[in-house]
Symmetry: C2
Subunit: 409 residues, 2 copies
């Protein structure tokens, strides 16, 4: 008997029939003799509809109120799932994030989990219940309801798994696992049977949307194996864990891409200490996340500073940066909103030369211009025109082709 945490996404519980289907899957796990804790997202497009309602009321809905509003979506699906299990004769109980002890800071709309006080969850497990927890939400010390922002329910699931010492955290979604590239772009893309935390973190951070990087990080920190699989099929999925075999690690494991990239270049910046802080501290204070930063070599004490943000943040970022650019004596600010990113990821790159050259060569062969390059020890990312992302992903998959271990099923 093991303790297993499962998470089901919004498309998996989009209507009554799908909720019953998920209940049957949970019941099967229970029949295998396991204790089961389930984290559930809001049904289908519930969250979007609630946001729409909020914007009918106010152009700038209050963050605290918006969090309470959105939290109801996951509460609804958790109760329905518990009802479905009880109707099948399985003991089950739903818990809100607050009841499940998901304690967060008070950063409404993007709260971080501080700790999980899982007393109630443990009590219900001991009573023999399948415990259904409303994902994406928590509660502050002041008993205010918060939501966790993007990747929230995945994060709830891994945090609960860590806190309860679960054997595995199973993330069930509408895709069959982690692929060597997005199968919608690359029909030859293959599902990975397993992948290491670090590689998954790079893939997730640079565009693979199957699992949020926050959840991957948390899994790595607490050594929780995470299975990503489909709730609609019986395919085995992808296991993310720390013990991936040496051989398997020594490859480019996946190609990630992201079409949501905008670039700002501050042209003609005097190259003196404090300039970077003068620009990036105000951006951080405005809540704008900066991804890639590149500073050219300075010529005669003048340099260009380029960074990327998501497209949705571009207008606000320009509002913040333009007056600063003027005040520090830069020549101008220019922006480009039509960019994308392609990345190759694999621990095999570490200490192995030649990957960058092969990547640039593959892109050049297709006449794809590289605007910016950033790397980590196990990742190389090129910023390119958005229109060329699809071709780039295909070219890179071809170039590094089936280094991925083939997945059965």
């Amino acid at each position: 008997m093991a303790l297993i945490v499962q998470k089901y996404g919004g498309t998996s519980v989009a209507d009554a029939e799908r909720i019953k289907n998920v209940a049957r899957r949970i019941a099967r796990t229970r029949d295998e003799g396991h204790q089961v804790v389930v984290v559930v997202s809001a049904m289908g497009d519930t969250t979007d509809k609630l946001i729409e309602l909020a914007y009918q009321i106010s152009e700038r809905p209050d963050n605290r109120e918006l969090d309470v509003l959105l939290s109801t979506g996951e509460v609804v699906s958790s109760t329905l799932l518990a009802m479905a299990l009880k109707a099948m004769g399985y003991p089950a109980i739903s818990l809100t994030g607050a009841q499940a002890g998901i304690r967060t800071d008070a950063a409404f709309s993007r709260a971080r989990i501080l700790k999980v006080e899982a007393k109630r969850v443990i009590k219900e497990l001991e009573k023999g219940n399948i415990v259904i927890v409303a994902g994406f939400q928590g509660i502050t010390e002041e008993m205010d309801i918060t939501t966790l922002g993007r990747g929230g329910s995945d994060t709830t699931a891994v945090a609960l798994a860590a806190s309860l010492g679960a054997e595995v955290c199973q993330i069930y979604t509408d895709v069959e696992g982690v692929y060597s590239a997005d199968p919608r772009l690359v029909p030859q893309a293959q599902r990975l049977a397993e992948i290491g935390y670090e590689e998954m973190l790079e893939l997730a951070s640079y565009g693979a949307q199957v699992l949020h990087p926050r959840a991957v990080e948390l899994g790595e920190l607490f050594h929780i194996p995470i299975l990503v699989a489909s709730s609609f099929t019986e395919k085995p999925g992808t296991l993310i864990h720390g013990g991936v075999a040496m051989e398997v690690r020594n490859k480019v494991r996946g190609i990630a891409h992201n079409r949501n990239v905008a670039k700002i270049t501050v042209v003609g910046v005097p190259d003196r200490p404090g300039i970077a802080a003068a620009i990036f501290v105000p951006l951080a204070e405005a809540g704008i996340s900066v991804d890639t930063i590149v500073q050219n070599a300075s010529i005669q004490g003048i340099t260009d500073l380029t960074f990327t943000v998501s497209k949705g943040d571009l207008a606000r970022a320009m509002e913040v940066v333009e007056p600063i650019a003027k005040s520090i004596g830069a020549r101008e600010c220019v922006s480009d909103a039509k960019l994308g990113a392609v990345s190759i990821v694999g621990t095999g790159m570490q200490n192995t030369p030649g990957y960058a050259a092969r990547m640039f060569g593959a892109l050049s062969e297709k006449n794809i211009n590289i605007q910016l390059i950033t790397t980590s020890e196990i990742r190389i990312t090129c910023i390119i025109n958005e229109a060329e992302v699809e071709e780039a992903v295909r070219a890179l998959h071809q170039a590094f082709q089936t280094e991925a271990d083939t997945a059965s099923g």
Copy 2:
């Protein structure tokens, strides 16, 4: 400066525009210098839709889960109302029933309020906030979410008013107050400017749906004046309080009616001690509420026992009663599902003869047959055929006509 509790019903907050309208009304009360606590129902038909969803999942949805599910309806409307006030520049905060300290017993779907721990509400009032509380819900000692059943949000409002020592509890709804009879049946019916708790309790218990008897009882117990008025007009409404003038009390104040009456007669019951308990204890245990009970004078040790239930409970009540009737040697059980009730209510009846005679006379003139009669000190109720309810209400209003004090506006 006074502390005022306001409650807005589901039709008053049915969509974004109506929520904004309610926000403007609240803001006006605030502008008059008052502290305001608002209790809100779920938007329009939200509760019905959630119930429908639950029944798509299960034929008998679990009560605990159903309560958590339904509680989200009021949470949604409370957050939207707080957003609307903030968008207008008024400081406001929403609180769930749990956050507002509405502590209940664990009788899911029909929980009773045990106490109100209003610390958080008081703290938010002291901060200058308008406090919006999700009605109809509370939380048990075990931190399980409950709903209060019928009249729940009205009860939340009066309980909060009592706990906070509010000057008045204003119930805003889609009717303009309490009338001498249902104005849809009796166009001449008049709005009462004021009415005493006891009279209102009888009217509410015997069919006037404007306010739930639970809320009236609570108001009487804690001496909270309750104003019932429309959220759509500026009409003054009806004030329910304890200090109604002697003169005004000495009349038939209102005619109540109820079309939802079914009757069961256990025929040929041996008249011996313990028979009533044998029948009514199991009914109570099955959660079936029995209204009127009439036992005929016994002839040769044999009697008939008749009682009424709501139509929805009739089938279950027969299931409970038939085997008991058999076991105690009764001849048979017969039921009639097509009944209604008309009542006249007024403290004037107390110690004043002639009201019953006038009532029976008025009904007899219209050839309306009276099946059962029950009375309290300030009420006389006749059970009649459902099809004759409307005519009976008109006849009674005519007979006792404008004894009601005329209302201005």
